[in-house]
Amino acid sequence: MPLESQTATARVHDPDHDELRRLEAGLDSLQAVPETARGAFRRTVDGVLPPILLLIALVAAWQIYIVIAKPRPDLIPGPFDVFGALASAWSSERLQLAVATSLERGGLGFLIAVAIGTPIGLLLAECRPVRRAVGPLLSGLQVLPSVAWVPAAIIWFGLTDATVYFVILMGAVPSIANGLVSGVDQIPPQLRRVGTVLGASRFEMATLVVLPAALPGYFSGLKQGWAFAWRSLMAAEIITTGGTIGFGLGTMLNQSRELADLAGVLATILVILFVGILVELVIFAPIERRLLRRRGLMAAGLR
């Protein structure tokens, strides 16, 4: 049935049809849920203000404790000692170097993990026999702390960057693959049926239906993969020092420990924490919010 003829008849003026149109339009506007989007400024203020207030309160409580209890500064340094350590690390440019090195390794390692984990996840999700064979192993690897691989990696690769990347991959790949698998598992079967009914080939089904439908699950797998990559990286950097391995945040942490510089240790821990929070806030959270909001998966309060 050619479409032109359909629309040609549609344009014939028919009072009953107009009546129906108005009725439907009225019902639509009664039933549709209006999206009450808040402004970007408001959203930023609502999102940023509470954690900053909490941070200020925590630092204030810490300082009050130092003033009142007067603990030994080499056991419990005050906020000013820690900020001092941070400032001196900054001025000697050790901080910048450490953050840059660690972020570069973490980011690159994460990207490699995505490139490896995604096809593995797809294969596992779509191929039953492979899943039965490899699934338990992958779940096991996800539970195994990837630090456990450090000694083996040192023996295999020596004190090189390869050791660090190996440990990152062992931490992140299982999370990413498992995230994709659970994302695919959670696709409502109805959507695949629609794909079949619409005549999608295997390839079209995978690219146009399965992958986009699995995106929320895949994305939370990516987030977890990043967390594992960052943790594994820190562990690897703390344990493996020397050789051709560069100066990362973990190395800096370990150096401060050797110097019994508790203020330096705490300062580095804070930096590691903040890098993690920053990556979450700047990269993952906006993508995730957009992803969920577009699909109507976000609770009204979180918009």
Binding site: M1, A10, L20, L27, V33, L198, P212, A213
Partner: protein, 276 residues
């Protein structure tokens, strides 16, 4: 039960002051060729009991057929077999025009695409060139009065609007046969009533053959040109009514009520048979 008793109840033609011309056109397409042939169809899952038994049916092109039965009588299974989503255990189904378009109870729109893109995807899978998709999708959405909602995402639409997008998407497949599996069952009565009107209009305008599965007797009496009543366990077609009505009828009209009462009596008799 040996052979299904087939009575044909012909209701008096409703005087249609509304659209007599459209009605005659639809009546003219009735006598067309056969669109769906079902021959000795049987279905069982594994070694379980028979779900469908000895279904023989021939549906004319352009006909609006309602398949009516209690929950679990196998009417959705029958529809899935016609759609090619399930294989029959015995017998054969032939859809003259090839494959059929299907619409489900749940609109099952892709939540990551806008209403317009959902329709466009169906066009894309049909092989319509990229340049024409946008325009055709808008035309189809306009056919279900949703041209303004093309940029909206499924979660922003009401249930009735989603079903209309799903209808537009099924029409985008451009197949002569449209199979509908309780498409309005989850909607409120007001919306359902409007969608009946909408569907009837689209059917008259596009000349599709529609097989409409429902457990709602009034809905069947409101929409169908031909109503098939199915028994349960095993599912068979036990009775059918043909309505030689040229125009549209309202769900509140006495004709629909009378036919509905008659069908309900039969349906209850079928259900009572399962009590023992």
């Amino acid at each position: 039960m040996t052979s299904p008793a087939r009575t044909s109840v012909v209701t008096a033609p409703v005087q249609t002051s509304e659209t007599p011309v459209a009605g005659e056109e639809a009546a003219a397409t009735d006598s067309g060729p056969v669109a769906i042939t079902i021959d000795g169809l049987g279905k069982r899952y594994g070694t379980g009991p028979l779900v469908l038994e000895d279904i023989n049916l021939s549906i004319e092109a352009g006909q609006f057929v309602c398949l009516l039965g209690a929950s679990g009588c196998g009417k959705s299974t029958l529809l899935n077999i016609i759609a090619g989503l399930e294989k029959p255990t015995e017998g054969a189904v032939t859809v003259a025009s090839g494959k059929a378009a299907v619409m489900f109870q749940d609109a099952a729109l892709f939540p990551w695409l806008t209403a317009g893109r959902n329709v466009e995807l169906a066009l894309k899978l049909r092989g319509v060139p990229r340049k024409e998709r946008r325009r055709e999708a808008l035309e189809l959405l306009d056919l279900v009065n949703l041209a303004d909602a093309a940029e909206k995402r499924p979660h922003e639409l009401s249930g009735g609007m989603r079903q209309r997008v799903a209808l537009a998407r099924s029409l985008a497949q451009d197949r002569k046969v449209l199979l509908m599996d309780e498409p309005f069952a989850a909607l409120d009565a007001i919306t359902r009533d409007l969608l009946h009107e909408e569907l009837e209009r689209v059917w008259r305008q596009t000349g599709r053959t529609i097989v409409f599965v429902t457990h709602n007797v009034r809905e069947a009496a409101r929409l169908g040109q031909r109503i098939l009543l199915m028994s349960s366990r095993p599912g068979r077609i036990v009775n059918e009514w043909t309505i030689t009505d040229t125009g549209s009828r309202r769900i509140e009209s006495p004709e629909v009520a009378r036919l509905g009462d008659e069908i309900t009596d039969q349906l209850r008799k079928e259900i009572r048979r399962n009590a023992a």
